[in-house]
Symmetry: C2
């Protein structure tokens, strides 16, 4: 008569992942504040105190989501863009991996870049990760430049890298909002913008504002 045989007891590690899955889903749908711990627990098929027991408070839970999704993304990119490749090849592979990740983990993307950025305490966590990405891109550009015997001020380089990362994130948003779109094709388009622009910069071409 005790008719709840389907719900088995599961080891902690498994339940934690289920909870994180649910949390990412709910956070991305509702936003951090509007998401309720009850809904997350419910969605994970578990009761609320379990969430608190395993993952801690709401803030800690969100940081845990941020961390998991961020790590996954960085690994996907780093695994694809080996440092010994030529710059354009590296950029291409990195972009392809990135858009592939976003296409496959739209919820995770939303949590990372739409939610985290909105509220102060988490923005820092995100800024660190984003900073690492910017550094990678800036390092790539710098490397290519030095190979040509040219030098560029570090700040300029950083800002250019920032712009490229921003453009990429923007297309990621576009991709997340267009389920029919192809990640590979999006990566190609981004490559056109980024590389053809970067190529010119690498050649030393500089645009300067017209005189008033």
């Amino acid at each position: 008569m005790s008719s709840t045989p389907t719900f088995k007891r599961l080891p902690r590690a498994v339940r934690e992942q289920q909870m994180l899955d649910a949390a990412v889903k709910v956070f991305s749908r509702r936003g951090f504040h509007a998401a309720s711990m009850d809904e997350i627990a419910d969605d994970a098929g578990i009761s609320k105190p379990m969430v608190y027991a395993y993952l801690g408070t709401k803030d800690e839970l969100f940081v845990a989501c941020l961390h998991r999704e961020g790590t996954r993304m960085m690994e996907a990119i780093a695994g694809a863009a080996a440092p010994d490749l030529p710059a354009d090849e590296r950029l291409w592979r990195g972009l392809r991996a990135f858009f592939g990740f976003v296409g496959a983990h739209r919820d995770g993307w939303a949590v990372l870049y739409r939610q985290a950025r909105a509220s102060q305490p988490f923005a820092a966590e995100l800024a660190t990760m984003r900073g690492r990405l910017v550094d990678v891109v800036a390092g790539m550009l710098d490397h290519a430049l030095r190979a040509k015997g040219r030098e560029v001020r570090a700040t300029d380089l950083e800002v250019v890298a920032y712009a490229l990362v921003g453009a990429t994130e923007s297309l990621a948003d576009w991709l997340a909002d267009h389920p029919e779109a192809d990640p590979e094709k999006t990566a190609t388009r981004m490559m056109n913008v980024a590389w053809l622009g970067a190529d010119q910069l690498l050649r030393g071409t500089v645009w300067h504002p017209p005189a008033d």
Copy 2:
């Protein structure tokens, strides 16, 4: 003895602007949900029921903020980038106006692009405005292309415009986080990335993915 002589009664239009100023400030600092109507009312130097009487519920108030800041921004850009100028000049003036606006209205920027994007109901409102910006940029590129007798698929154009807008927004974030940075210089940097990239695209140069 009634010692509140400094607080005068003010006409509705004035109070509404004060409330919107306070709301933009608080929303940008706390985020939409964490912002409380009490704090906004307090910051505006008025009591809460007045806010409800003039601007409606919290949601409606936020939309009103979004609307005002968005309109201001669009006007600043549209006023600077006259349609009869050559493409590079238009782009430059538009960018300069944009970064000038962000530099001068950091709170408004935060409300628009950090808060609004985070939660579903408002994202649509923002997407409309952003879409108008993308259309302007895409139209500019298209115009320049046709002048050279070339044509590009509308989707490609839109995606490129999207990337450029994204890169610009990203630098705007960077600017908002670096109070010491100069909007004009940031605009120049963006111009380098955008124009040199766009210029290559306009020449018909295309990057394509390497064979596996």
